[in-house]
Amino acid sequence: MIADILTGAIRSGTSVMLASQGELVSERAGVINLGTEGSMLAGALGGFAVTVWTGNPWLGALAGGLCGLLIASIHAFLVLSCGANQLATGLTIMFFGMGVTAFFGRDFVSQQIVGFNPVALPGLSDIPFIGPILFNHDPLTYLSILLVPLLWYVIFRTRVGIMLRTAGEREEVLFASGVNPKLVRYLAVLAGGFLAGIGGAQLSIAYTHSWVENMTAGRGVVAVALVIFASWKPARAMLGAYLFGAAQALQLTVQQQGLAISPFFLFMVPYLLTLLALLIVERRKKSQTPEALGRVFAGEAGG
């Protein structure tokens, strides 16, 4: 049973994890994107649709990412080019995503796809206990796990990462060194949308193999919350996402065991757990929020 829950933690946590890595990139550059929920929904639908049409889940995942990017581009344009309020814009995009996907997704409800299935890595998956937990997942999950150290390396060890972090802390410095902070932020938001879109696609074409209206059910919001929980560090965001996934998996397991707990209480657990995690972190230490976060271009340098 414990092995089941841990396997499920990774399986159902992957979509949140991808979205939170994307949000992390965006916030490192100084832009909060609550529209992550919208990007995930668009990714889930776009990915599903393309998988239905082509039969190729890889193309589906790519399309999902692009759909997420497209939604994020609205956020980037309104926030960075028009100076709109970040939270308000993000929420509108969340709502927009719900409307648009409900509209275009109508014909895809109840359609069946093959999608991604778990691939047991030969040898590794035979390791007792750990094997089935870690090495029997869909390809997107493997890639998402590889993404975490890659992102850590890019953010903390490369020039691109320095530019990204500077955009989120002191845009004036970036501007003075001849880099356009707006461009850096644009790219960060778009990258974030792309990852959120793939996260959404993982949900529809690898985890559930179906499209249901509003199927992300707040995972995008959880992803944003997890970035705070993770104090803007990729590995901790991964941990948080798997914790959320574990709560989801626990809920399924408890239901299968037929325990007399109302399923509705179990549905709440992941959200309450996210709140609790935020509380504990906030108690523990001073927040390490990127300085320019949320106040992008309040005092734009010469631009």
């Binding site: 609550l34 609205i74 344009f77 309104l78 028009c82 100076g83 709109a84 309020n85 939270l87 308000a88 814009t89 929420l91 509108t92 995009i93 969340m94 709502f95 927009f96 719900m98 409307g99 648009v100 409900a102 509209f103 109508r106 059910a217 707040g218 919001v221 959880v222 944003v224 919350a225 705070i228 109302s262 509705f264 209480f265 549905f267 709440m268 959200y271 309450l272 996210t274 709140l275 935020l278 509380l279 906030e282 108690r283």
Partner: protein
């Protein structure tokens, strides 16, 4: 930028005649363009689906202003948007972003139904309805109280906690309508028993419009009065515009955050009660779904001004009613008007720099 703009208006104001005319017309023209543009974009979208947008817009206006019933329907739709809009606008004035109207409305509806079904059955209307409304306000206050405590004691950002709690609220309502509040004669449908007919809000003849609309109007005016005409309102606005100044002036900021959020929750909770007592008559898992978010959007469209909010809520009401027309006349799902609402907002948000006064 700002300085430039203000100097140019100064020169214009000083010079006479046509210049000042231009200065007066231009912001209005921009505002009008911003309001028209999303309808044009949405019209193009409709054309792709072989729906004539002109016909839709004409029927939208006709169904709103054509007869009393239609006008009542729009006001009916606008009612919860005004209240959940206030639940966003009031905290916004104090510098808070409350997106929890959705959950606060749901829990308000839950409390109101609970009291109506279990305690208020035999009460006369003059006593039962106000008590039910208090129950709704209490429910909203409890839910907003969670956000407030997390904000004040836990130092958590109210935007994120309020959205997360919206999902918890939905599941809470689901739990009750599948369990303790389930109608035993409903053949397993998940909804509550119907509330007593004496608890239903009185309606205006020839429409479905009920007295809840007046309640919403009164509360909007009340919030406007408190914000603009009282010392408390002044303190709230100071807090919202300059937290540091508020701190220096010796205000108890946490206390103000707490009570502003509680008041917001009460407003949204009353919206939930009105949905039950005014329209639905019983609680469903889907009661008031999206009303909180739409109210938030209405508040943003009104730049968080309570009186303007009445207008923007009316506009959203019109669009909502048009959604039903759209579904009946052309087979497009009613959710497609959400796209129009979002478009309206995108244009308003994007224009903030130029049009905001």
């Amino acid at each position: 930028m700002k300085q430039q703009a203000s100097t140019s208006t100064n020169t214009i104001a000083l010079s006479a005649g046509s210049y000042s005319f231009l200065a007066r017309v231009k912001p209005w023209a921009i505002q009008a363009l911003i309001m028209i543009a999303p309808f044009v974009v949405y019209g193009l979208f409709l054309l792709c689906y072989e729906v004539n947008p002109v016909e839709l817009y004409v029927s939208m206006v006709k169904s709103t202003f054509g007869d009393l019933y239609g006008f009542g329907e729009v006001l009916l739709k606008a009612t919860p948007f005004i209240l959940t809009g206030l639940a966003a606008a009031l905290p916004a004035k104090a510098g808070l972003v409350n997106v929890g109207g959705e959950g606060q409305l749901a829990i308000g509806a839950l409390f109101a139904t609970w009291f109506a079904v279990f305690y208020l059955n035999d009460f006369p209307a003059w006593l039962g309805i106000p008590l039910m409304m208090i129950a709704g306000a209490l429910g909203g206050a409890v839910w907003a109280g969670l956000v407030a405590v997390l904000k004040v004691k836990g130092r958590l950002n109210e935007t994120i906690t309020s959205v997360l709690l919206n999902y918890v609220a939905t599941f809470t309502v689901g739990f009750f309508v599948h369990g303790l509040l389930k109608d035993k004669e409903s053949f397993n449908w998940p909804f509550s028993p119907e509330i007593a007919s004496s608890l239903r809000l009185p309606i205006i003849n020839g429409t479905r419009l009920h007295i809840g609309f007046v309640v919403a109007l009164v509360l909007a005016v009340l919030v406007w009065y408190v914000l603009t005409r009282t010392r408390l309102g002044f303190r709230i606005r100071v807090l919202g515009s300059n937290r540091l100044a508020a701190e220096r002036a010796g205000m108890n900021i946490n206390k103000m955050y707490f009570w502003v959020l509680i008041a917001a929750g009460m407003l949204a909770g009353i919206a939930g009660m009105i949905e039950i007592a005014g329209i639905e008559g019983r609680l469903r898992a889907s009661t008031g779904a999206n009303f909180g978010y739409l109210g938030f959007l209405a508040a943003m469209m009104a730049w968080n001004k309570p009186l303007r909010l009445i207008v923007t809520a009316f506009l959203l009401g019109m669009i909502s009613v048009a959604g039903n027309t759209l579904e009946i006349s052309s087979g497009l799902p009613s959710s497609s008007v959400n796209i129009l609402m979002a478009l309206v907002l995108f244009f308003i948000l994007g224009s903030g720099r130029w049009a905001k006064r």
